[in-house]
């Protein structure tokens, strides 16, 4: 995600999410500048889908994205660290057991 601008005359920044194929999630592709949402979608089309990379576009003004602090990643994700029992491979079951 790009940094927010402080220049008041600059068009606001938008984050662009592209659905590459029907049925899949929208994924963050990058960002662009645009004066409004409609222009943001058109600009996103021109910048990010020139080679048919998408079937759907979402744009969100960057200032509305709240992100976790990279510096606090360790404590944020720490709770999942020692819980290997959330994975199916944790359970040792007989080989003859099928369909599970």
């Amino acid at each position: 995600m790009a940094q927010q601008t402080t220049n008041k005359n600059e068009w606001p920044l938008w984050e662009v999410f592209i659905r590459s194929k029907a049925g899949l999630d929208h994924k963050h592709a990058g960002s662009i500048h645009a004066a409004d949402a409609e222009m943001a979608i058109e600009n996103a089309r021109d910048v990010y889908t020139r080679r048919m990379e998408g079937v759907s576009i979402w744009v969100v003004e960057s200032k509305y994205i709240h992100a976790s602090e990279p510096g606090q990643s360790e404590e944020l994700f720490e709770p999942a660290n020692d819980k290997i029992y959330r994975h199916p491979t944790f359970y040792d079951l007989p080989d003859e057991l099928k369909h599970m």
Partner: protein
């Protein structure tokens, strides 16, 4: 576009297996059917936390306790994925809560049975989650995108649920006589309700045909039920336990297990609210909702106060 051509466009997409997304035009009945099914599914995840929550404090050791906690936590998460998918169809969370609490919306009947012993934690994981997975895997290809994507996430997380349940059953089956009896007793009580989880038989399931045409549903109730019985009977052999059905017999000609008559009167009776725990489950949900009221209010009040303060600061700066 006229309604006719919109309908045609929709039908064509479904036929070509192109997912329907929230902003696409869809027939009213398709929307209604999905809303009913997805919210019912979400409610099942949330109410489904109760029978297992009952045993968290009494798990036999710390490992079992941590695993059971993780499983119940997953069910909460699954409920949330599904509520969010339902919200893309235009329903609000509060509206869905209201429908659950008033009894207007249903949830899976299996959760109206009590969890009487620790062995029930094994039987629920093995049978109830096993049946749920059997049901949910085809839903990963449902025609409505947000539902299908939620189901992919759910299925991925669900596989440990069944394995931990089977592990409990295996430990009990290899244990003392008393432990083995507990395991058999749990199987006896959960077997038939699990088989009923697939819903009424095909010839008495009014919504199936339309849902299959819309590709919300891919495989009929009876076919899924048969698949479940075929794999589960084999798994029971590994445990040395016997499903409580004297008519259960391998049929060489069909390549499937034959099984005894299902007590559909019991099923409909529980659906109507007369199961052993219907009242208790709904009351527990309502109590949780009411007792959480002050938390919801406090969080909103705090957020409002904070934004007012920020507005004041930026007004001063300007």
């Amino acid at each position: 576009m006229t309604v006719d051509s919109l309908q045609e466009h929709f039908d064509d997409k479904v036929k070509r297996e192109v997912t329907i997304e929230p902003r696409d035009w869809m027939p009213d009945d398709y929307r209604k059917t999905l809303l009913r099914q997805i919210s019912q599914h979400a409610h099942s995840e949330i109410v489904g936390m109760l029978p297992e929550g009952n045993w968290i404090t009494r798990a036999p050791n710390l490992r079992r306790k941590a695993v059971l906690l993780a499983k119940v936590q997953d069910e909460a998460g699954h409920g949330l994925y599904l509520y969010s998918a339902a919200e893309t169809l235009g329903s609000s969370r509060d509206e869905m809560m209201e429908q659950l609490h008033s009894g207007k919306a249903k949830y899976s009947s299996i959760f109206n049975y009590p969890s009487l012993t620790w062995a029930d934690m094994g039987a629920i994981g093995w049978l109830v989650d096993g049946a749920a997975i059997m049901n949910q895997v085809p839903l990963c290809r449902a025609s409505y995108g947000p539902y299908a994507r939620a189901m992919v996430r759910v299925c991925k997380e669900e596989s440990f649920h069944q394995r931990q349940g089977f592990e409990i059953m295996l430990t009990l089956s290899n244990g003392t006589e008393v432990q083995k009896k507990l395991a058999q007793d749990a199987l006896n009580r959960w077997w038939w309700p699990s088989i009923m989880m697939f819903g009424p038989p095909d010839d008495n399931s009014p919504n199936t045909e339309q849902s299959m045409r819309w590709r919300i549903k891919r495989i009929s109730n009876d076919e899924l039920r048969q698949r479940f019985i075929d794999v589960t009977v084999e798994q029971a052999k590994i445990l040395g336990l016997t499903p409580p059905d004297k008519d259960l017999k391998w049929n060489e000609a069909t390549g499937h297990y034959d099984f005894g008559a299902i007590n559909w009167d019991e099923f409909w009776n529980v659906v109507k609210g007369n199961g052993p725990c219907n009242k208790e489950r709904l009351e527990a949900r309502k109590k949780a909702w009411e007792e959480g009221e002050w938390v919801r209010e406090a969080a909103l009040a705090y957020s409002k106060k904070r934004s007012e303060r920020n507005n004041k600061i930026s007004a001063k700066a300007a």
